[in-house]
Amino acid sequence: MAKRVDATNVTAYYGGFKAIEDINLTVEPKTVTALIGPSGCGKSTFLRSINRMHEVLPGARVEGSLTIDGQNIYDRDVDVTAVRRTIGMVFQRPNPFPTMSIFDNVVAGLRLNGVKRKSVLAETAEKALRSANLWDEVKDRLAKPGAGLSGGQQQRLCIARTIAVEPQVVLMDEPCSALDPISTLAIEDLMFQLKDKFTIIIVTHNMQQAARVSDRTAFFSIEKTGDPGRLIEYDNTQKIFSNPAQKKTEDYITGRFG
């Protein structure tokens, strides 16, 4: 289920602007990896490069190689949609489809894959919602609009929608930044459970969160505005937060910079 992600010399552009440069990083299966760093350092760009969502923006492109268990997802003959099915993504703001019910939201990915059998859909929906710790809260109102849930529930709905298609890797782009502390806690608990099955990469601005949930932490930074973001340090979370090798990392996590 979970796969290793290998980035080699990943450089990403927005038109003429180089957002990240030469990122080299390996993410082990069934771990939670946190990407931290100041705003504009390219951690979200890097995250979006991993499932080829970066290139959705006009003029955006990626160079270098990114492999999932040895297969380069940027190879010419690779189907983009297959990449995105293998590598799911949860966004910063909860984004359930506003026109769909809770149930339809969860199975949206399955429907895109051509699954039509009602029993399969119902079974998968329940499984995904249970995995997202949302089932008990919504089981009586599956036909209601997904947008009617609270922010935290919507985000868990989006997680359920992402894991319903059984991806290998789950990317989370500041999944808790729009949520209250209790909902945040619920999502962090969820990450602990999910890493049994998935490789999780999370971008976060909250360093306590990175320290709490992740096994490994990557620190990104930029020299100055307009420069590309680089990977400064990548190590076990424990090490990064207690005894970082780089001065810049230490400055950032102690709040002297950023």
Binding site: N51, M53, V56, P58, T81, A82, V83, R84, R85, G88, M89, F91, R93, N95, P96, F97, P98, T99, M100, S101, A108, G109, L112, N113, K144, P145, A147, G148, C158, R161, T162, V165
Partner: protein, 363 residues
């Protein structure tokens, strides 16, 4: 503003500064002038926050705007009521004089001494041409709108969008002339071809002549309603939140699947509204149809033979020679057209309203 005197005028008099002094936000100079007074009232802390709250203004911009808005809203109702009363008052005598059944009689001779006229054929033609026009225009318009909003490069999209809007500004009489003198030729050839190979389908049967037919009228009408539907749908599609589009893409949707999962459902109320506006124009279109249809009175689904008529086209054609009774009859037909439009609009509203639970939270 006579009842709200300037603070500085009050400050020196020692009148009743606490209740009256806060009508307007305190200016710096006014505050300085008031300072000696404040020391005498023990409740004041000198920060300007003490004392009673200012009274609401009896007259001000707020109320004036409200009255203006209310007047404008009322005026609409009054105008509509006045039009309705006028139309009904003119129509009723003509309807009384009618010697045939207004609903079923196939023909229009209201100027005779024994007036005979029926709305059935006209209403049928109106609905048929409008429906056919939408049938042709809506898929094309949605296709163009999706292309402009999600496929075309931005510059191409903007330019094409502008051209489409320009199409909406062409006067309908120009469309009518073009349809009658130019477009009729290919339509005639196409009709003959259809008749030859598909004549066994009643829609394309008959022995001619072809050309100035329901088909020509509907196609011209379709071109006329195309811009309004395209332009509105495009706006709606552009408003789809990026995060919903990205959600679909991140689930592994292709571009078309993304449009189907995120963009089209989100835009549905807007599409319906756009189609209804187009339908409104199609139902009411007058001169283009008066010039392109064959103008006959009869109920037939044959699309290619000369013929067809609509309520609005009939009013345009017949008004010039109508006597008092004839005008009354035309006004009665106008009322029926109004009723048809009303029913269509109410239906559309009902469709949108039924889905409100899923659309209101879309913001």
């Amino acid at each position: 503003m006579g009842e709200t005197p300037q603070r500085s005028a009050h400050a020196g008099t020692g009148g009743n500064p606490v209740t009256e002094g806060h009508e307007r936000p305190a200016g710096a100079s006014a505050r300085v002038a008031e300072a000696p007074l404040r020391t005498r009232t023990p409740d004041e802390n000198g920060m300007g926050g003490g004392g009673a709250l200012p009274r609401a203004k009896a007259f001000g911009a707020e109320r004036a705007f409200r009255a203006l808005a209310l007047a404008a809203g009322t005026a609409v109702l009054v105008i509509i009521a006045a039009i309705a009363v006028f139309l009904i008052a003119k129509a009723v005598p003509a309807l009384r004089a009618n010697t045939e059944n207004f609903w079923t009689y196939e023909g229009w001779s209201p100027n005779d001494s024994q007036p005979k006229f029926g709305i059935g054929t006209l209403a049928f033609g109106t609905v048929l041409t409008a429906a056919l026009a939408l049938l042709v225009a809506v898929p094309v318009a949605l296709g163009i709108a999706l292309y402009l909003s999600h496929y075309a490069p931005r510059r191409v999209g903007t330019t094409l969008g502008f051209l489409i809007d320009l199409l909406a500004a062409v006067p309908s009489v120009v469309f009518g002339l073009w349809g009658r003198d130019v477009f009729v030729n290919p339509v005639r050839d196409f009709s003959a071809w259809l008749n030859e190979y598909f004549g066994w389908i009643p829609l394309f049967g008959g022995d001619g002549p072809f050309g100035r037919s329901i088909m020509l009228g509907s196609l011209v009408l379709a071109i006329m309603v195309l811009p309004i539907i395209t332009s509105l749908s495009r706006e709606v599609f552009l408003q789809t939140p990026t995060m919903n589009e990205e959600a679909a893409l991140a689930l592994g949707a292709t571009r078309w699947e993304m449009l189907r999962t995120a963009v089209l459902p989100y835009g549905k109320p807007g599409i319906i509204a756009a189609v209804m506006l187009g339908l409104g124009r199609a139902l009411g279109e007058t001169i283009a149809l008066a010039m392109t249809l064959g103008i006959t009175f009869g109920i037939s689904f044959n699309l290619i033979q000369n013929g067809g008529n609509t309520i609005a086209a009939n009013i345009a054609n017949a008004f010039g020679e109508a006597n008092a009774n004839g005008r009354g009859a035309l006004i009665a037909s106008g009322l029926v057209l109004f009723a048809i439009t009303l029913i269509v609009n109410i239906t559309a509203r009902a469709i949108i309203y039924r889905r409100r639970e899923f659309t209101e939270s879309a913001a």
